[in-house]
């Protein structure tokens, strides 16, 4: 039996809604609120039911306007590469600091996407981030935590 990807997503949403509903029932409310007309779990419970109803309707009813996606033309390699780079960016941003991690993230992202103009790669990474940081920190007074620049004495 073939199931369309949209229906599969709806099935996953149905399961998620079931889990949401179960978790909503587990919310511990104050004893005096237990029998109240509305408490902390009322709205989430309704949402859980709404999710179940809409996803069930989508699964049951015929799909008249199906979305066709040619999975062969999708660029998995670059997309996954970018996602991994973003995760690494997230890991390093607090440890290595904003300037270094952002500049390296940009350089690697340009390369992953196939860019090989090295001058532009450089200009749109280290100097670009430095100018951007100056705009945020220096002009707009938006605090930027950067242990690396603090360590080398550039930032206070």
């Amino acid at each position: 039996m073939n199931i369309s990807p949209s229906k599969l997503i709806s099935l996953l949403f149905f399961i998620f809604s079931g889990f949401f509903l179960y978790t909503a029932h587990q919310i511990e409310v104050f004893a005096f609120d237990e029998g109240a007309a509305f408490n902390a779990k009322t709205f989430p419970i309704y949402l859980g039911y709404a999710g179940l109803v809409f996803s069930a309707l989508f699964i049951i009813l015929p799909e008249t306007n199906p979305t066709n996606v040619d999975l062969k033309v999708l660029d998995y390699k670059k997309t996954v590469g970018l996602v991994i780079l973003m995760i690494l960016y997230g890991i390093t941003i607090l440890r290595a600091g904003y300037f270094l991690s952002t500049s390296i993230f940009l350089v690697l992202s340009y390369i992953v996407l196939g860019e090989r103009k090295w001058i532009w790669i450089f200009l749109l990474s280290f100097p670009f981030v430095a100018i951007f940081m100056y705009l945020l920190h220096g002009l707009l007074n938006i605090y930027l935590r950067d242990p690396f620049l603090k360590f080398i004495g550039i930032m206070g």
Binding site: P44, N65, T67, Y110
Partner: protein, 499 residues
């Protein structure tokens, strides 16, 4: 009202705010021009910067970005037949053929003058309608607000679903679910936090907007192996021809603009409809209004065919501010992002905004008009230069969007967890986008989630747990009836009509 206008002018004409309008219009034009990146992404990318300003300045910047993005979208529609935003698709029907005839400059000028006129006329409508509706909406009660919010969500779902209403409704529910994460506002009881301290304050609005728009749009472009700049490399972006219009062309525009402005504004006020529907309706309406000779020119570079949708989409932008400023209920995804930003400033839009924060209320309205002038004076002559942005390689464009997204969330919390969660939501949103699960209903639901729960809580407590509040008041009853009609019609249309 005169006093309010003067307060608004005083705030909007300060040097700082004038600069913000210019920066907003300029950056909005650039982002809106890039196919695939719409006003929501443009505004989302600006939010972290706006938190450094006072609310009026922040909102003025975002309004400028909004207008700029719509204007930028029409530029890419005309030059490369790749609309930057859905609201400018109708512009490409005649704008692109005119550009192919060597009159790109003229097509851009028609679009700019029409946008200016549409925006100006509708800003006047807004000036009149917003205070009046504010006074009327003071009589609204919690059940009415609860009903209006459901109406807004169903209408946005209906209009953005492209025939997949249930997909859009699933996105609405998902948005509301995400909004319910964190401590309950009244009792402080943690919900769906799974003992994780990072979730106790809930999921940040900026995080969700960045993930579902900026980041997932960028990932979608890469995933689908689209190159939005490919078409731009095949046309000359520096030789666009004259931007001067002759008398006949001006006369045609003068007849088109007033009717398209009225239509656009009315459609913009309606929840969910917005610029896209307004531009298509105006195009269709204009085609019916003109004589047979002019009708033949539609689709081949008609002046009316460009002027009508451009006037209407800008008028709709102003119109969409009416429910936001007067009821505190956004009627579209874009104004939902603005509402989220306003809530971030600690300001609750609604009928009382007019009285409690008149400088915000009026300065936004005034800045809209100033924004129109900026677009006309600054952006139109600069188009040959700005248009070169269209040729920016995606290899640079995409990493820069991702960088701005991560920076936006990092600046809010300095927390790795938020970055990981944003990446997770962006990946899920990219897959959902691939299968036409629309994102605007999710954002609108996420922004309205807290308000909806609060109004439902009040309504249920006042009616002692009875759901009769849904039909006790005539206004609530009419709203609920409209919702039932929309839902029924959508389900019928999606599943049974075409069989």
């Amino acid at each position: 009202m005169i006093e309010g206008i003067l307060i608004g002018l005083d705030t909007a004409l300060s040097l700082k705010n004038l600069m913000m309008v210019m920066i907003g219009c300029f950056s909005g034009t650039i982002i809106g021009m890039l196919p695939g990146l719409g006003p929501m992404t443009a505004i989302a990318l600006m939010i972290p910067i706006t938190y450094g300003f006072d609310p009026a300045t922040g909102l003025i910047l975002m309004a400028g970005v909004y207008y700029g993005a719509v204007f930028g979208g029409s530029t890419s529609s005309i030059l490369i037949n790749a609309p930057g935003v859905p609201g400018t698709v109708a512009t490409s029907f005649d704008g692109y053929p005119m550009a192919q005839q060597g009159k790109a400059g003229k097509a851009l000028a028609i679009a700019a003058y029409s946008s200016f006129a549409g925006g100006t006329i509708s800003a006047i409508f807004l000036l009149i309608a917003a205070p009046s509706l504010s006074l009327v909406s003071l009589s609204f009660r919690s059940p009415d607000y609860f009903g209006l919010m459901i109406l807004g969500l169903t209408a946005v779902a209906a209009f953005s679903s492209k025939g997949n209403f249930l997909k859009a409704m699933m996105m609405v529910v998902l948005g509301l679910m995400l909004a319910s994460v964190g401590q309950d506002t009244l009792s402080d009881i943690p919900r769906f936090t799974f003992n994780n301290m990072n979730l106790s304050d809930g999921i940040s609005f900026v995080l969700v907007v960045m993930a579902t728009f900026a980041m997932s749009e960028a990932l979608t472009i890469i995933f689908k192996a689209n190159d939005p700049t490919r078409a731009a490399k095949q046309v000359s972006l520096s030789q666009l021809g004259s931007i001067k219009l002759d008398k006949v062309e001006t006369k045609k525009m003068i007849t088109t603009i007033p009717r398209s402005s009225v239509l656009g504004f009315i459609i913009g006020v309606l929840p969910g409809a917005g610029a896209t529907i307004a531009s298509f309706l105006a195009y269709g309406m204009e085609r019916n209004f003109v004589n047979d000779e002019e009708k033949q020119k539609f689709g081949k570079g008609s002046v009316n065919g460009i002027a009508a949708p451009e006037t209407a989409n800008n008028a709709a932008c102003s119109g969409s501010f009416v429910p936001l400023l007067t009821l505190g209920i956004p009627g579209s995804g874009t104004t939902a992002v603005m509402l989220g930003a306003l809530l971030g400033f600690g300001i609750q839009p609604g009928p009382r905004l007019y009285q409690t924060n008149p400088e915000i209320f009026w300065s936004v309205i005034m800045s809209m008009y100033i924004g129109m002038v900026v677009l006309l004076i600054l952006n139109l002559p600069l188009i040959p230069y700005i248009a070169r942005v269209l040729a920016t390689p995606r290899t640079f464009l995409i990493p820069l969007i991702l960088f701005f997204s991560v920076t936006g969330v990092y600046l809010m919390s300095f927390n790795n967890f938020d970055i990981y969660m944003m990446i997770g939501i962006a990946v899920v949103a990219t897959i959902l986008r691939l299968y036409d699960f629309p994102m605007p209903p999710l954002i609108l639901a996420f922004v309205l989630g807290g308000l909806m729960e609060e109004n439902l809580r009040r309504s249920l407590l006042l009616s002692d747990g009875s759901w009769t509040f849904l039909w006790d008041r005539p206004l609530t009853f009419v709203i609920m009836l409209t919702i039932i009609l929309i839902v029924g019609w959508q389900i019928y249309g999606s599943f049974f009509k075409n069989r």
